[in-house]
Amino acid sequence: MSAIVEFRGVGYRVPRLEILQDLNFTVEAGETLVLLGRSGSGKTTALRLVNRLLQPVAGTVLVEGKATTEWDAIRLRRRIGYVIQETGLFPHFTVAENVGLVPRLEGWPADRIGARVDEMLERMDLPPAEFGARYPRELSGGQRQRVGVARALAADPPVLLFDEPFGALDPVTRFDLQRQFLEWRRTFHKTSIFVTHDVREALMLGTRIGLMRGGRLEMLATPEDFAQTQNDEARAFLASLDWRREMDAHRPLE
């Protein structure tokens, strides 16, 4: 295995606020590293350092062995798919135009773009004949996220970044997409970093879980080890899953 993304002593701050401190970890080829943390723990900031939407104030973020600051930002970003909660689909582009965006920027010939768009839509269970000509506003939330994933995958980038992509969906649709995510992971073999505050999602989707707290990496473990750990913050997250115990504790005595 080789490191595709590596954080080396990374710090990030804005005036009067330390956001990330001394972040060190590597993401190996083909794995899905989930960054789990509460709001404000710095997980989204860490993600945005990978495709150079932000630049580190201290340390280095390496992608494929090269510091993000050494990369041409445009080239770097076209090698990294990006999926966010609000989807960021272009409202004035059709579904097909949205999915074909990066291939078009990369100057693929039109027939190859068309074929690739159809293929990606098929794989996202969105029949191209039915969905290709629609606009994002004509889709449901789950369909929009699928288009977002198709767009991120269209130019076949080696790295994918997910920023709470399923956070705004209803639980049933979310679970449906989480299951499909595992399916896509098996078929596409991408290196992914996935940000979430949902511990259930982290356990289900991650090959490893990086727990963030106050701008630092609290622990890094496989889901199995994470579930067994005595770490306070991890226990706090795991306790949020245990609805039955709370219910029992508050049941009136018979």
């Binding site: 495709n51 939407l53 445009i74 080239r75 770097l76 970003r77 076209r78 990294i80 990006y82 966010i84 609000e86 989807t87 960021g88 689909l89 272009f90 409202p91 004035h92 965006l101 990066v102 920027l105 606009y135 506003r137 767009r151």
Partner: protein, 205 residues
């Protein structure tokens, strides 16, 4: 209606239209690019909007008057009138360009950048298409106001439909005033409807 009057109405209307059209083209050529570049320069934004705001607060008759003694752009006639109208039209066009582009959904702009679009591609393929109806709304407001304000241009020898209005006031002749006011009002309504139609047609969503 005497034939002399109706042919004068026609020629004054064309004159009026000419002044308004030139002023609008110049104002758009200045304020839209300026607005675009201000979206990239947060620091200068308040300063520029403040200036445009101040220009707009100057009473129109006074602004026409102030410009007369100014060398190169001043003097009596159409040129001075056009300069004054351009200064008036700057604010609505500048403001709407800024509001339109800065109002593009942050998630959309962020993913455009994250997909590896250059700043120029983000501007031309994302921001401008999504802002064009807002920019046009600014052009529409400016045009409708300018058609009215341009009647004052007659006071400094700028011609146009204002000639009838000033003549009507000085001779207490309602017919003369209406000969200027009605075509100007019709022109404003047509401009409003036409530009409104274009705005809806170019609206992205």
């Amino acid at each position: 209606m005497p034939t002399g009057l109706s042919s004068e109405i026609a020629s004054r209307t064309i004159e009026h239209l000419e002044v308004v059209l030139i002023a609008m083209l110049l104002a758009a050529a200045i304020s839209i690019p300026a607005g675009i570049s201000l979206t990239r320069r947060a620091g200068m934004r308040r300063w520029a909007l403040g200036l445009a705001n101040v220009l707009q607060t100057i009473p129109s008759l006074a602004l026409f008057g102030f410009l007369i003694p100014v060398p190169l752009i001043g003097g009596i006639g159409k040129r001075t009138a056009i300069v004054a109208l351009v200064l008036y039209a700057l604010l609505p066009m500048l403001r709407n360009t800024l509001v339109g582009i800065l109002g593009v959904d942050a998630a959309v702009r962020e993913s455009a950048v994250a997909m590896g679009m250059t700043d120029r591609q983000v501007l031309w393929q994302v921001e401008l298409p999504l802002a064009v109806h807002m920019i046009l709304a600014g052009v529409r407001v400016a045009t409708v106001t300018t058609i009215g304000t341009a009647t004052i241009a007659a006071a400094i020898g700028g011609g146009g439909l204002g000639v009838f209005i000033f003549r009507g006031i000085s001779t207490v002749d309602t017919g003369q005033m209406l000969a200027g006011a009605i075509p100007a009002a019709v022109m404003a309504i047509v401009a409003d409807e036409g530009l409104g139609w274009l705005e809806r047609k170019l609206s992205p969503v």
